[in-house]
Amino acid sequence: MEIFWFIAVGFMLTMYVILDGFDLGAGVIHLLVAKTEDERRTVLNSIGPVWDGNEVWLLAAGGTLYFAFPKVYASSFSGFYLPLMMVLWLLMLRAIGIEFRHHLRHPMWKAFWDVTFSLASTLLAIFFGAALGNVVRGVPLNPEGYFFAPLWTTFTVVPAAGILDWFTVIMGVVALATVTAHGAHFIAMKTTNALQTRARLWAERAWWLTLATSLLAFLATWYIHPEIWDNYRHAPWGFIFPVLGLLGWLGGAYAQARQQDSHAFFASSLFIAGMAASTAFGLFPTMLPASTDRQFALTIYNSAAQEYSLSVGMVWWIIGMVLAAGYFGYVFYSFRGKTKLPAEGEGY
């Protein structure tokens, strides 16, 4: 039962990274690929009908984590207090940027929200990567299962490290490169002409950066947290996940070369899913490793809600996921194809 919920939370977080990842990535490259007002509106309209729903995956994953593993939720949210609050402020600024931009036609108004949107998207991508880095590296849990991490201390990887050290910064860059490529693939898929060409260019650059930084992160993880390979040694079938990720990367490179944007987008989705699953497989059954003493780590067994709660939840969770898949399928189907700018006055 705990394993089911570990997979469920992991699944929802991965869905979040794949879905909100492309609109975050669109935000990162917004100022780089879209030069004219029409191009900027096209980028924003490509994600307009879906970004809000994408972001809901974060909330739903958070809710599910709270429900299934209340102890992990309480410990990590209070421990990562400051960075999470900053993530909240960035999420707010980004959402407001995209929602409020079109209400005034004044160029300064639009420029202000464009920069806000891009900056917030970029910082969020880095923060999320750094957060993942913290989870992989471990945090200074005390015997009660709580900790508090300052933003930074020495920048070296020590047991009482802050949120940012050299390892988590690398992870931040990996995340930034990944979502940039992912978003650029999405924009290339939804657009034409000069905008599409520039999006392809940025997708290609980011795709190579993704490979380089992922390899660096791979070596760094090996160096600071070698236990992450224990699971792979015991159950070599787990190598299927990194292999899938690698196939995703190769497929992306291949599709890019042939200018097949939608294939490239699905390939980068596969890359993200493969990498997320690889990390989860390596951590299992730990959810929050302890850098202080290994036995303080929060695992799915010492932090889960009780059996009854989890089994009732499984029923409605599966129903909910089927419904959500239906809505998302329908929404994406409705807005399929290239983004056309609406005539003046259409849409609200």
Binding site: G53, P70, L88, Y348
Partner: protein
């Protein structure tokens, strides 16, 4: 610790009070938009469709702010109230996760379709999308109130070896006797807000001689739903909620009513100031025996006063609780009066030319916001000193590792952020209102 507790409490109170300004309008307005779309389908009158589109714009601005200010609420259970989350997550995690999985996905998916997809969906499809958005927002409200109802009156739980609580009955949690009245009372309060806002814009258009045909549509819609909701919020929902408080939290009822002494045939205090040193009401104006009747339907019934309970069970801030409750009830009474007069004049076909009443309707839209905020304060202050009534004290729920200084830093951050959001919000909504539901071609398109 004292300092940290205060900071965390103010942090949550501030963020949730600001947050609830937005969903109360969207939940009510969601219903009114469904009514407008329904009227448009039935009558084929394009005015209703344009009205629905106009309110959808305001809805979308509100919705965006509701979402961005709602995300911190979910986070804060973990960031600021970690001990509470560890203690109660096994129960309320259930309803909070269901809100995410059932309500948020529904709402956000169909809002995208409703806002961007009218051409693609056709009129019936567009009506369905509006209905789904409404359904999602009311489901969202249900799961949140279910969570709060459990904190007010915990049911369906068992205590585990480590002291935390766990769910014992899924249906028990959803059928909490506290939940029904609290939910209906809350949702009808949201309809009142929307009805007053719609009426205010309608009144403004008529007073200012602009978009007059829409002003009339808005007034008809706002006044009829407003009167209905204003009556329903008092009876039976407010009454039912009051009886729940009397049954499950009698000490809270005594504090809300300012009743210091237990008595038979207790009076209902309309106005007065609680004096916490002398433990009595100053300058009371009261109606004899009415409180006994309202609570137990018997004029001579005994109502327990604060003196019947040990001091450490009294709510921690009795004057604030008392005022919040009386502001809510007082404003609720005024809402019935305003909407009754307006509905009477509407029926006699005199409303559109009765300028003094249009002025009142235009200026009274902030009061439902105040009443709903006061109602929320009544519920939350009334629960004190408990975080989960009878099970977990508020002092025991805060995060053990987050210092007062860190809490203050983020509280100030939210204050700054929300000041900015509030100004932008007012600016954009007022712009839409001044612009009005004019033919679509003149309006800038969505980006």
């Amino acid at each position: 610790m004292e300092e940290a507790l205060l900071v965390h409490r103010v942090h949550f109170a501030f963020t949730i009070m600001f947050h609830y300004l937005f969903p109360q309008l969207t939940m009510g307005l969601g219903l009114l938009i469904v009514i407008l779309k329904g009227l448009a389908l039935r009558t084929k009158d394009e005015h209703y469709n344009r009205s629905a589109r106009f309110w959808a714009k305001i809805f979308a601005i509100n919705f965006a702010l509701g979402v961005v200010t709602g995300i911190p609420m979910e986070f804060q259970f973990g960031t600021n109230w970690a001990k509470f989350s560890t203690f109660a997550g096994g129960v309320i995690g259930q309803t909070l996760a269901m809100e995410g999985v059932f309500a948020f996905f529904l709402e956000s998916s169909f809002l995208g379709l409703f806002i961007f997809g009218e051409k693609k969906l056709g009129q019936i499809g567009h009506f369905v999308a509006a209905f789904m958005v409404f359904l999602g927002s009311w489901l969202s409200g249900f799961f949140i109130i279910a969570t709060n109802a459990w904190m007010q009156h915990p049911v369906a739980y068992s205590v585990a070896a480590d002291g935390s609580v766990h769910l014992a009955s899924f249906w028990g949690l959803l059928l909490n006797p506290w939940l029904g009245w609290q939910y209906l009372h809350n949702m009808i309060g949201a309809v009142i807000t929307a009805a007053f806002v719609v009426s205010a814009v309608g009144a403004f258009y008529l007073l200012d001689h602009r978009h007059e045909e829409y002003g009339k549509v808005f007034l008809r819609l706002g006044v009829t739903t407003g009167l209905l909701a204003a009556v329903l919020v008092a009876f039976p929902t407010g009454d039912g909620q009051g009886k729940n408080v009397a049954t499950y939290q009698p000490v809270t009822l005594a504090a809300m009513e300012g009743l210091f002494e237990t008595k038979e045939g207790a009076e209902l205090i309309l106005i007065g100031q609680p004096d916490m040193e002398k433990l009595r009401m100053d300058n009371p104006i009261h109606i004899p025996r009415l409180l006994s009747f309202l609570t137990y339907y018997r004029w001579g019934a005994e109502v327990k006063g604060l003196d019947a309970f040990p001091r450490e069970q009294w709510p921690t801030n009795i004057p604030l609780l008392y005022y919040a409750y009386h502001i809510m009830v007082g404003l609720g009474t005024i809402f019935i009066a305003i909407m009754a007069v307006a509905a009477y004049l509407l029926w006699r076909r005199k409303l559109y030319s009765t300028r003094w009443l249009l002025w009142i309707l235009m200026l009274s839209f902030p009061f439902p916001y105040i009443a709903n905020t006061a109602g929320w304060m009544t519920a939350e202050l009334g629960r004190q000193p408990w975080l989960v009534y009878g099970l977990l004290r508020t002092t025991e729920g805060i995060s053990p590792t987050v210092s007062a200084g860190n809490g203050l830093f983020t509280l100030l951050g939210f204050m700054g952020m929300y000041a900015l959001l509030g100004m932008l919000f007012l600016f954009l909504v007022m712009r839409e209102v001044f612009h009005g539901p004019a033919p679509a071609a003149a309006h800038a398109s969505a980006a």
